[in-house]
Point group: C2
Chain length 433, copies 2
């Protein structure tokens, strides 16, 4: 990327969609990235920054002056502008806002006043609102003459003078109707609206459930303040699912563009907790060191009992965590799920108890050892099934995200119960105490 | 649900959205569910069946005659009709189709001919196509006079006589323009179209990437055959994420409404594989039984080495699997990820090696044992980092879903390497062989 090539590069890059431009930025290394943006200058479209990982975005923002950011952000849709500004700290953010046109500044400030991850933060503040007594003809004439319309819109909001939403008019309905029809007779009055304070994930549920494309967002006084569109919600849904997967694996909010230090830090917490629980399991084994000394086969076999239980527990836990995340569980289904999981645990426990019992009896030419490991597996599977379903439910009740916390607890239980049950039963059976 | 109450129930249930009706069906037990549907008779809206779990849907379909299904399905949008019909087997499906109006039959048959989970299966075959020489006025007049339009639509397709898509006209653009403007000057010619054969997940990527609401679906001859809408894609995205989570935990395509037998079966496969790998790890320990006999502390400590490695491996694997699923990895990012994961593994390995080494040295009053476990942990973390990133990539290259297969392999490697490294190093250090 040499300075002389500015024009060529600008021509190459300008027709790109923001997503593609985002990819270009991510693929470049830090210096080239900043040089490209500097080269493009005013021609750089800030919406590309909404399509890159946070790490990349932060880097770019750190290297732009507040005036440049203010200019770039002014050109964006309000939801994209908020997305970029919400990561910028206090004083800088104020300075950037101060350099923007008054109307935009006010609407961005209002969005930024709503809580993080709320519908108010994600909403688009440009929308079309009309009074109920307008006719189809008046509405179309208004759309034809008004120059300052949102870039894209799918429905029109019918409001009273205080901006309370009376109904929603999808564009196709407007187009199918004769010019003389009044919009209040056409509008859909049975509609969903979300509160600006509401969590974006709750709003996403409504979109999924009712197959929506756009919903009105209202403030505490039920006045229309913006609209949420499906493209932002798709990102929320995607992000939420990824978050659940990452949390269950103990990698927090890590992104693949995170630096080594960030990844080390985000994972160390979970590894630290795992160290404590693994030590706990090890202490349990320590109680039985005399038993193991007398019969070393126990040490050879005990990881099988723990591993199988851990696996069964993870299966149950995953089903439960996912069902909780998707709000699939009412109290009736919850009871059914708990029963089912314990029964499934018991049945799979019996199946694998028999299999592993036989393998063990043959391998060590010791039928009693087979019986002992089989019993320990049934016990551990029962605990695994119960813990796998009850622990996520308990966390959910306590308003703790079950995706984060359940895994450690379930694995600790299956490890401890697995080692304890197997070594205790073996000690008793073979009279090793 | 008594027969006398038919009217009351019908009145209660009719205003419900399909999703809510689906919830009602899921909450009822089998007999009540079937009785409710029988009571409603022709008033039962089949779209509720697209909102319930497969198990519930299958049960209901088994209890309805083919004639009833044909009637119910005729009333649906083509994508919902396909969704219900695709789960019905050969002869029954033919019979149902035979009882439907000719035009609908043909379009459903064509959709059903596309591969499972393809864009062709998910598409809506109702759409509005107009020639490029029409004006805005002509188009609006057509929409006002034509009675047989899709229920909802967001854009109009401009096509040539062979139904090749020339451009897309969003409704808002149509509404903003004067009646005399020709649509070919308004239409968006830089658009995305998907092939009907294409996997629905690929199509979902396009929606996410380019913030689309509707895309045209074309056949092998590039002729417009249907449209994919965002509401179906939201379900695809949601389902795909759930699938990844479930696969990583080894619970396959299980749903919470699955019966005990289904759950037992879907999980047993994974547990069986886990049994084999756990046995493999146990065989590795078996090599060292004489070593353990001489120093039982090794048996007490070895699960810590394996558990920590397993955890680190799962973290790396999750990041990699998710990045692959989201198509976030080009070859450049891939190289960067591999390096990063191995470095992160090494650093976290060193951190926890020191911690666990000190704890062990103190606990067993044996500094040498602390050094040995520390060394084993560093080795295992290095293997965990490498396996966690390389195994999913290898599976992905071999066109195997890394979400399904990686977990077992990574855990096997961290278990085997953990036990082997620790017991071997201890044996050598303390001269126990």
């Amino acid at each position: 990327i040499a300075a002389a090539e500015t024009e060529t590069i600008a021509e190459l890059v300008e027709p790109l969609h923001a997503s593609d431009m985002g990819d270009v930025l991510e693929a470049l290394d830090k210096e080239d990235r900043l040089r490209l943006i500097a080269l493009l200058g005013e021609r750089f479209d800030f919406s590309a920054l909404t399509e890159v990982d946070e790490t990349v975005r932060d880097e770019v923002m750190d290297n732009l002056s507040n005036a440049e950011i203010a200019r770039g952000v002014s050109g964006l849709d309000s939801d994209d502008a908020v997305y970029i500004l919400e990561d910028i700290e206090g004083a800088d953010r104020e300075e950037i806002l101060a350099q923007m046109p008054a109307f935009e500044r006010l609407s961005l400030k209002r969005s930024l006043d709503f809580p993080e991850e709320s519908a108010g933060r994600r909403m688009q503040t440009d929308f079309i609102a009309i009074p109920p007594f307008w006719t189809v003809g008046q509405t179309i004439d208004y759309l034809r003459s008004e120059k300052d319309l949102p870039d894209e819109f799918y429905q029109i909001y019918v409001v009273d003078p205080s901006y309370t939403v009376l109904g929603i008019l999808p564009l196709d309905k407007l187009l199918r109707s004769q010019r003389t029809v009044r919009v209040e007779t056409l509008m859909n009055t049975n509609f969903i609206q979300v509160s600006a304070e509401e969590d974006q994930e709750e709003a996403a549920r409504d979109f999924e459930r009712y197959d929506l494309v756009e919903v009105p967002v209202v403030d505490a006084n039920k006045r229309l303040v913006g609209v949420l569109t499906i493209d932002d919600i798709v990102d929320v849904i995607q992000e939420e699912a990824s978050e659940d997967i990452r949390r269950m694996a103990g990698v927090g909010d890590e992104e693949i563009s995170d630096k080594v230090t960030g990844a080390v830090r985000s994972r160390a917490t979970w590894l630290f907790i795992n160290m404590i629980t693994a030590t706990l399991a090890s202490v349990v084994i320590g109680f039985f060191d005399a038993t193991i000394e007398q019969m070393v086969a126990l040490a050879v076999l005990m990881p099988i009992v723990a591993a199988m239980g851990g696996n069964a527990g993870t299966q149950t836990m995953t089903i439960t965590v996912r069902a909780l995340a998707m709000r699939e569980l009412d109290s009736f289904k919850l009871r059914r799920l708990i029963t089912r999981e314990i029964v499934v645990g018991l049945i799979n426990g019996l199946i694998f108890a028999v299999l592993i019992g036989i393998i063990t009896a043959v391998r060590f030419a010791n039928p009693s050892l087979g019986v002992v490991i089989a019993l320990a597996i049934v016990v551990n599977f029962l605990f695994a099934g119960s813990a796998g379903v009850l622990i996520p439910i308990a966390f959910n009740k306590a308003k703790i995200d079950p995706a984060v916390a359940s895994s450690t607890f379930v694995m600790t239980i299956t490890d401890v119960v697995g080692f304890f049950a197997f070594l205790l039963l073996a000690g008793l059976w073979f009279g090793l105490f």
